[in-house]
Structure formats: C-alpha cells, structure tokens
Amino acid sequence: MAQKITIEPVTRVEGHGKVTIHLDSKMNVQQTRLHIVEFRGFERFVQGRPYWEAPVLVQRLCGICPVSHHLAAAKALDVIVGAGTGKGLTATGEKMRRLMHYGQMFQSHALHFFHLSSPDFLLGYDADPAIRNVVGVAQKFPELATQGVLMRKFGQEVINFTAGKKIHGTGAIPGGINKNLSIEERDFLLKGDDPMNVDKMIEWAGDAVNLFKDYYMQNREFVDNFAHFPSNHLSLVREDGALDFYHGVMRAVDSEGNRVLDDVDYQDYYKHIEEEVKNWSYMKFPYMKHLGKDKGWYRVGPLARLNCCDFIPTPKAQKEFEAFRAHTNGKPNNYCLHTHWARLIELLHSAEVIKELLEDPDLQKDDLVVKGKKGNEGVGLIEAPRGTLFHHYKINDDDQITMANLIVSTTNNNEPMNRSVNMVSKNMMTGKAVITEPMKNAVEVAIRAYDPCLSCATHALGKMPLDIKLYGPDDEELDHYKS
C-alpha cells in the first residue's frame, strides 16, 4: 500500500558533514567520525509505482548527477523488459545513453574542478577561506573561471539534447531511449562557434590536466602526504579492461594491485557486496563479502576507476593515464589528493568520447528501443562522477515495483571518507583541546577529495557546511565549530 512520506528539504540530499572527534585522557585522538545525513526514503517511495517511472522518479534523489540515477535505473529496467545489458540495446539506444552519460561526467567533473577544488590549488590550501572560493578564482584567474563555466554549459547541452532537458530529463526508457540526435543538435556540439564546440572542450580539458600537474610539481610533498592510505578500489571496467563509465563488469583491486574481485557480472552484485549498518550513522558501510568488514571496504570514484582499469580507450587521456600509472610504478595509486588528477584525466577522456560519439552516424538512426522476455528483477550499475552507483529493482506481475535497493557512490565511499577524516584529525589534532583553523581546512579538503556532493563539498557558496565537535575522555564537549 502506498505510504505518505513527508520529506523535509534538508534530508532530501546527502547533506551536512558533521564530524565528531573523541580524545582520550592523554589528549590523543581516539576516534573521528564523519556523519552524513543520507536520505534513503526513495527506496520506500518507489514501492508500488509503475516500474517505467523509476528512471524519472529516482533521479530526483540528486540535483547534481541526476543523469547517473536516471541511467542506472534505466539499465536495471532493461534487464526487466528483457533487453539485457550493454549490447542488448540497439546501437542508437546504447550510444545516445552513453552520450548523455559522458556529457554528465564532463559537466560534473568540470564543475567540481573549477568551482570546488581549483580554489585550493590556485589560491593555496591555507589561503583565507574568504577568498578561497570560486569568486576568488574568478578575480585572480578570470579566463580559467570562464572556461569552467563554459565547459559545464557544454556538458549540459549534451544532456539537453539526449534527455530533453538540462536537468531531470526523460531520455532513457526501459529498453532504450526516446529520441535520437538530430543533425542540428550534432553540429551544434561538433562545430559550434568558438569556443562552444567539442574540440575546444578537449583542448581545455587537456589544459586542466596540465594545471594540476604543474601544481603538483610544486607541492608534491603536501599532495602525497595528505590523508594517504592503502585501500581496495572498485569500479566497472569494460570487458577488455578499458575504462568505461557506462557499462562493464565489476572489478576490484587491493592496494597492491591484486584483483580481489575479478570482472564479475553486476547482476550478482549482492553475492559480492554487503552493507553494514552502524548505530551512529544513517549511511551504510558497504564491503566485499568474501574479504569481510575489516578488509573488504573499498574506494570508488575517479581514483578507483583509474586503479582498476587497464587502459583508457581514447588517445589523449591514455597518454595522461600512462603518466599517472608510471607515477606509482603501475601499482594502484592510494594518494587521496591524486583523486583530483584522476578526475581531470577523466574529464579529458569524456570530451574525447563525446567527440567520437558525435561523429558516429548511429546516433541519427531511428531504431530506439528493444524489448524481450519480461522478468521480475534487474540490476543496473553505472560509474557516476563520484563512483559506482548500484540500482536494484524487483517488480510484481502487475508491473509495480516491490523492492528497490540503491547504493550510491557516497555510500560506497563512506569508510574511506571516514578514514581520511580520521587520519587528518590524528595528524593535526592530537594534544590539542581546540579546533584550529588548519584542522578545519584539512577536514574540508579531505572530504572534498571524494566530492560527496555539492551541499557537502561546496566552495561555490563560500563555505562548506561543516560542523565539528571535539569531545574529551569523559564525553564532555571541549570545542564546537560550525560554519
């Protein structure tokens, strides 16, 4: 039976970063926890709804990467309507969705880099928070800020042409897509007036990678030592091991590069992934079953993806990937802040893929949807900008959703985010009974590397909504900082 659920606006998104730090009697940091208010009501919300509504309904979960939810749900429903996964769709169906997704990846990564993390690089991690934001960047580096805005806009146009709207569109439907790409739309993106065309986007994305590398050369020690810890890494990879954001098999490697999940079919994800509930957090803690809770947790996102894949199937990004890999002698890269580097390589790759797709005549064909023998259950996985996203649905014979399980990227990164924050606070807090300015900055930087979501990671609006509480050995509150 349908249930009415009232949703308070603040709980609708993965919201504030609340951090609690506990000191022991010697004033050593004993434990640090990051509490993220995560809204899981959608899983209830969709029960009873017609299954074809899921891609449109569930994308409302997120205002930042709705396309990922839209597509993950559609992919799960492809299985239900008997279209299968991956190549089961028509060429036009699959490629239009890919274009939508890479457009999303491009705009999200551009937003993250230029609006959220570039203030740290360009103005310095220790700069006054009053200027260390996108406005500060715009004042000091106006050209770069403009590029950021236009790159985001370009990505949104790609989404607009594939989903019908820049945000919360409807393009993907069970078994395919509801439109193809017209010649005018294609040419707008391919040959638009300077600078709004894909070649310029590739050029700018390449510049952004270099910007990070320059910064890194000058700040190597800081970048490498910041919240660096070994972990497992999990992502989808194409069947031949290539980086793929839209479809593939599940792979995980450990911190040394050994495969701990060997290219398994994601329809069986629940055989491999378990979610642990902890009494102090609304957000679950996923881990790989066969490795157990303590050893099985993993990172997802740009860093994890570049650690899992064997190569990148576009030339410019592949060149950057080789340099990235060489840096750690081919072993997985466990440096938290190198996530930014990985993200920019992905930005470049996305632009290259968009160009390839735009040049593909399949996008103008009319064969949009396939359906086959209907089933009752389907799983859809996708690499969202922030990492692997799981959607799992069951339906009854009347076409109503009876079960939905979503594991969002930020949930997948729950444990690593907690570890990062813990490391940072251990390094900077021990022996102190007050929350210092560098400590606040460091916590922010650590969380932001995972790009948990705008409301958490935002620089754009000036401050990150952060709430840090420091407790003494008897649970007495020693200090409280709230931005």
Partner: protein
C-alpha cells in the same frame, strides 16, 4: 436547419449556431474557454466547473449552456479568471499530483491550466488523501491519486455492448475511479491508448509506454493549452 445567432464574449460580437454549446461557439470564433470534463463527442456532464462564464450576468457552465440569440457572455474578467484559478488549485490539493515524475507531464490538461492561470502556491490546504493504485489490469495502470472525477472515461470508454470499463466507487470524499476487472482483461491496446488520451490528467496510464514521447514533442511543450483555439482567432 441551423439558425445563426449573434452573441458577445467580453463585449466582442460573434456569430454562432443557435443551440450549440457556448464553449464550442466560442472556440469556433477563436475564443478559448477552458474545459476539463467536457469532451466533444459525448453528452456534457458539467461537473468540473472550469468552464464557468457569466451569461447575462449569471454564472453558467459554458459546456452545458446552449447558445441563444443576444447572449452576453463574460469569460476573461478578473473575477472569472480567479474562480478558474481557484478550481485548478482545488483540484491540485484534492488529489496527489506530483508533476515531476508523471508521464502525462506536458500532455496534461490540469497542468496546462495551472500554467495558464499561473498557479504558484494553492490557496487551499492539501488534503493528502490516500488512494490505492490499481495495477491489476493488463493494459492500464490506474493512478487514482490523480483522478479529477471528470467522468470522461466513464462516458466514453465502452465495449461493443455499451458497457463502461470505468466506474466510480464509494461516495463523497471517498469517491474513487475504478475499473471493471473482467472487462479490463480483454481491453485492446487501441482502447487503452484512447483512454489514456482522453483522461485530462495522468490517472489512466497505458502500461509500459511511459516517457516514450521526448520532451519538446509533448502536447503543450510548444503550444500552451488553449493557444490552438486562440491562434485561429478571426
């Protein structure tokens, strides 16, 4: 034979056929009077009141009032506009309408009127009625939360013997649209599509076709509701 008569709407003079409904006479002259329950091919039911106009100073429903010579009709006055807006608002609060995830969005008359009358926040409190979904029919998904009780489906969607597929159940505030389970089993795809098309909201949904129409090609994406009638204004 059809007798021609003269009448005015908001002071402008028009010509129509005696006995035709005001709403149709207006439309022929390029004047849009909104309708929700009215449908050209069936006997009007006059139940939604959205077509309210003043005829010679008295409130009437334009979909049920036959045209007579010399009628003075008021339609776009501030008073009537506000009444229509209030009706739209009432319909919104009385059901559970969540446009962002509704497949009828862009094709929905109620939503179209919401835009036309620039409804922002309804002046009435939400009722939050709880209504069951009926998914048991193989072709139709009945989203009772969105039904505005226009009776179009009851009046129009019938089998060869003239039996209605749809009916009202319960009374008063418990009133609900329902489907005849036995009849529904053999409903054709065409009839299911017709039912979905005549429903002015997203209460009758043909199964498994949702969102197949891309944004930009839906009924009211380019031509807001009423603009087809208005663009034919002489």
């Amino acid at each position: 034979m059809s007798e021609k008569v003269k009448f005015t709407i908001d002071g402008k003079e028009f010509e129509g056929t005696k006995g035709q409904f005001i709403v149709d006479a207006a439309a022929e002259n390029g004047v849009y009077i909104p309708v929700l329950c009215h449908w050209k091919d069936v006997t009007p039911s006059g139940s939604c009141r959205i077509c309210s106009v003043k005829v010679n100073g008295r409130f009437m429903t334009a979909c049920t009032t036959p045209l007579e010579d010399g009628m003075e009709v008021e339609s776009e006055t501030e008073e009537i506009q506000d009444i229509r807006k209030a009706i739209v608002e009432m319909l919104f609060v009385e059901g559970n309408h969540f446009c962002p995830a509704c497949e009828k969005s862009g094709d929905c008359d109620l939503q179209g009127l919401g835009y036309r009358y620039q409804m922002m926040v309804p002046r009435f409190p939400y009722a939050f009625e709880r209504r069951e979904l009926d998914a048991a029919s193989p072709k139709i998904f009945l989203e009772k939360n969105r039904c505005i009780f226009c009776k179009r489906c009851i009046r129009m969607i019938k089998d060869e013997q003239g039996k209605s597929y749809f009916a009202f159940k319960y009374r008063g505030k418990d009133l609900e649209i329902s489907m005849d389970k036995e009849l529904a089993k053999n409903m054709s795809e065409e009839l299911a599509q017709e039912a979905m098309d005549i429903c002015p909201v997203g209460a009758i949904l043909r199964k498994e076709v949702g969102f197949a129409k891309p944004i930009g090609t839906r009924k009211y994406d380019k031509m807001p509701i009423g603009s087809d009638v208005e663009s034919s204004q002489k």
